[in-house]
């Protein structure tokens, strides 16, 4: 069915002027087609013999549908050879989409932003092209499915957007603030007044006006900087872009997340002894690093305390769909990324070691997938190598917790009432007070320490 006018998608054959066996010549009118606008003659562009009519009169078909087969002049139509003939009207070719379309820049950027792996997406576009819609669907599917958003504080009370923001920043419960605006709406000045006269602070779960669209999981700094490693621009630009991305996420963290910090120094002398034994028989390439012990211990500790493992989005906590530990990896040119080791609690130490090596390598070479940067449900950062003793971390939004590991260092230590020199390490936990309270955090920190003291549980 030829395209016979702007906007024509389908046409109906009203009448055939030719029959199989008829000779036709270029320019000859062979059929009459009904379109939305009018009845139009169909001409043929090639000399030949009509071998077969494929669409009967009265039938409506889409543009591009072959209407008839045409054989070369002199071909005996009745013979099977006629089947070799070409269609009278070349169908609108369903050519495979060029690669540039498969990964159109807009779709690619969207995938990066939402952490969707394009290789895993089924394209529904023409010729299997991955469309924007496909990526959005995939992104929605891999998001933690949020429950219905929590009712806003001050429900039944009207408040201006700015007043809501101020209340969240000051930790005030809007429902406790008297509104002086139209219809009793709480205005900014009411919040200011309440803050100075003292109103009960909101419970930890008081919803701030998250500056993200409903349902959107804001990218961590690492995700915002995913293009940096692959970027071919000058190193300084890449570095600046990453700095900017980190700056945005950290600003947001500091502005929005009410942090609480817990810390504990533990004796890991025996654990390191255990590790030395494990490594004793191994070639250097297969040895375990202490870093994996902290990752595994953290992952296992979170199994029982899911409220530190997940995301804070739209004023509500959403548990992670697994325990995916983001590992902070500093880059040689500056900046850092924290890609995830997925389901870290289910992996053996050897598997974790392999995963960690792979991540470090790919992070520094610029081969990370976007999803690896948006997956983490918690981040572990080990600054021990830098000679730091303690660490009070800043949480990467929308995550709700952060585990920092300090330097492993010998300290004087009381053991069985005697002073001994033991190798110790400081573990710091930073957590989002909106999602959890101090005693929950303490339980997690204690559990991490317990696992580290009993390496056989790792």
């Amino acid at each position: 069915m030829p395209s016979l006018g702007s906007g024509m998608d389908v046409g109906r054959i009203l009448e055939w002027y030719v029959q199989p066996g008829d000779e036709v010549e270029r320019g000859q009118i062979v059929a009459l087609v009904e379109t939305d606008k009018a009845n139009i003659d169909v001409e043929i562009f090639t000399d030949g013999v009509i071998a077969e009519l494929l669409v009967e009169a009265g039938v409506k078909v889409p543009v591009g549908t072959p209407l008839a087969r045409l054989a070369d002049l002199g071909t005996e139509v009745a013979t099977p050879a006629a089947k070799e003939g070409q269609p009278a009207v070349e169908p609108a070719a369903e050519v495979p989409a060029p690669t540039s379309l498969v990964t159109s820049p807009i779709v690619r950027r969207l995938a990066e932003r939402t952490g969707v792996d394009l290789h895993a997406v089924h394209g529904t576009g023409r010729g299997g092209v991955i469309t924007r819609h496909d990526v959005e669907e995939a992104a929605a599917a891999q998001r933690p499915t949020p429950p219905a958003p929590a009712a806003p504080a001050g429900d039944g009370h009207r408040a201006s957007p700015y007043a809501r923001r101020l209340a969240a920043e000051r930790g005030l419960d809007l429902s406790e603030v008297a509104g002086s605006g139209p219809g009793g709406a709480v205005l900014a000045e009411d919040v200011e007044a309440a803050a100075t006269t003292g109103v009960r602070p909101s419970p930890a779960a008081g919803p701030p006006p998250a500056r993200t669209a409903p349902g959107e999981v804001a990218a961590p700094p690492a995700a915002a900087a995913t293009t940096a490693p692959a970027d071919t621009g000058p190193a300084t630009d890449r570095g600046q872009a990453m700095r900017q991305a980190i700056a945005r996420a950290m600003e947001r963290s500091n502005r929005e997340i009410p942090h609480y910090h817990l810390g504990e120094t533990i004796d890991i002398e025996s654990t390191l002894g255990w590790l030395a034994e494990v490594n004793a028989d191994r070639p250097p390439a297969e040895r375990l690093l202490s870093a994996v012990l902290f990752i595994k211990a953290t992952a296992l500790a979170l199994r029982r305390s899911s409220d530190l493992n997940g995301y804070w989005v739209d004023g509500a906590f959403h548990p992670g769909d697994g325990i995916h530990v983001g590992v902070a990896i500093n880059l040689r040119r500056g900046g850092l990324l924290a890609p995830a080791i997925r389901n870290a609690d289910e992996r053996s130490l050897d598997e974790l070691m392999a995963a960690l090596k792979d991540l470090v390598e790919r992070t520094r070479a610029g081969g990370l997938r976007g999803s690896e940067l948006t997956d983490p449900t918690i981040t572990v950062s080990n600054l021990g190598d830098s000679g730091v003793d303690t660490i009070q971390g800043v949480i990467t939004p929308p995550q709700v917790a952060f585990v920092g590991v300090g330097r492993i260092t010998p300290r004087p230590w009381a053991v069985d009432g005697m002073l001994a020199v033991r190798r110790t390490v400081y573990l710091g936990l930073s957590a989002d007070h909106r999602a959890s309270d101090g005693h929950r955090g303490a339980r997690v920190l204690t559990a991490i320490a317990d696992h580290l003291r009993r390496p056989e549980t790792l």
């Binding site: 957007p161 809501r164 002086s180 605006g181 205005l187 900014a188």
Partner: protein
């Protein structure tokens, strides 16, 4: 109108002039500076210009450069476009923006689109001057404000010139701009006087101007109405309300960053314009504030515009149709919750 431009103060290097003279000076400067510049329009030469802006220029520059045209808006604008595409820098004048509707086809279907349709091959460095605004009892075919019609269209710049500084500082960069620029002037301000520096400053074509800094509420406006808004701001100050007045000046592109920054300080916004409210620039500004500055808002954005009526002749009706000091003060007080 005898109001003076509140933002300027006399100093030894200043000179006093009307807004009409300011416009004329910038035209003269453009003609002196670049021999590709010429003017064309209805009665700009022998008559001296409908608003006397071009009075005397014919004698100074001759009929080749000060070209009186027949009453042919399509041909005036279309010819200016063609000349601009072929090496000249024409300044076409359309007497009032009501008449510009006759040339709308050339402005939108040609000036605004040729660069794009030609894949970047043909830019159109034309400048079109026209006038807008009510206040002189000229009724429904000479008084309207059509700035929003043009601000709707990608591919053209729209700038409103309602101060001496802008009248003297915008034309030069507009002529430098490689793309079409439409300049709106305001007949009811032509006799307004101000002390201005002897040497004018160049104005950034894309920027808004804060005409009066303030901390309590942002009033966004443009064109001749800004002088009414400034008067209203003084009345509000007496009442303890410190209004910041922003002249959008560039109506396309919109300098919304200046608006957002102001709203982040004041948390309240009122938009005042002389054009009809419906689908106007005020609607655009309010929408952008809602999109980008929502969490800064402590009150809904308010809009004041022309009553939804063709402008009537009778003075009391005309006055009632367009924003006045009283209506602006009342609306700001309402937004401030000072009913």
């Amino acid at each position: 109108m005898t109001a003076t431009d509140a933002t300027t103060r006399p100093t030894p290097e200043t000179v006093r002039m009307t807004l009409r003279e300011a416009h004329k000076q910038s035209l003269r400067a453009a003609l002196d500076h670049d021999e590709r510049v010429f003017l064309m329009g209805e009665d700009i030469g022998a008559y001296g210009g409908c608003f006397a802006v071009t009075m005397g220029l014919l004698d100074e520059y001759g009929p080749e450069r000060i070209r009186d045209t027949p009453l042919s808006e399509i041909a005036i604008v279309g010819t200016a476009i063609g000349a601009a595409m072929n090496g000249m820098r024409p300044i076409a004048e359309i007497m009032t923006c009501n008449f510009s509707l006759l040339a709308m086809d050339q402005i939108i279907n040609n000036a605004a689109t040729l660069l794009h349709m030609s894949g970047g091959q043909f830019n159109v460095p034309v400048v079109i001057r026209t006038t807008a605004g009510a206040g002189r009892q000229l009724a429904a075919q000479h008084s309207h404000s059509f700035e929003p019609y043009f601000a709707h269209v990608p591919g053209i710049r729209v700038v409103s010139l309602a101060t001496h500084a802008d009248a003297r500082g915008v034309l030069a960069p507009a002529l430098e701009d490689p793309d079409p620029v439409i300049l709106f002037e305001y007949p009811r301000l032509m006799t307004m006087e101000a002390e201005v520096p002897v040497d004018p400053d160049i104005v950034d074509l894309s920027s808004a101007a804060i005409r009066r800094p303030g901390s309590d509420v942002t009033v966004v406006t443009y064109g001749a109405t800004q002088h009414t808004v400034l008067d209203a701001a003084e009345a509000l100050a007496a009442d303890g309300i410190d209004a910041e007045v922003i002249d959008l000046r560039s109506l396309r592109p919109l300098d919304d960053a200046t608006v957002f920054a102001s709203v982040a300080r004041t948390h309240r916004a009122v938009v005042v314009e002389e054009a009809w409210r419906t689908v106007g620039l005020g609607a655009e500004v309010a929408a952008r504030i809602a999109e980008e500055a929502f969490y800064d808002l402590d009150a809904p954005v308010a809009r004041i515009g022309c009553a939804e009526v063709p402008l009537p002749y009778a003075k009391h009706l005309e006055d009632a149709a367009i924003p006045q000091v009283e209506s602006i003060v009342a609306e700001v007080r309402r937004v401030m919750h000072r009913g």
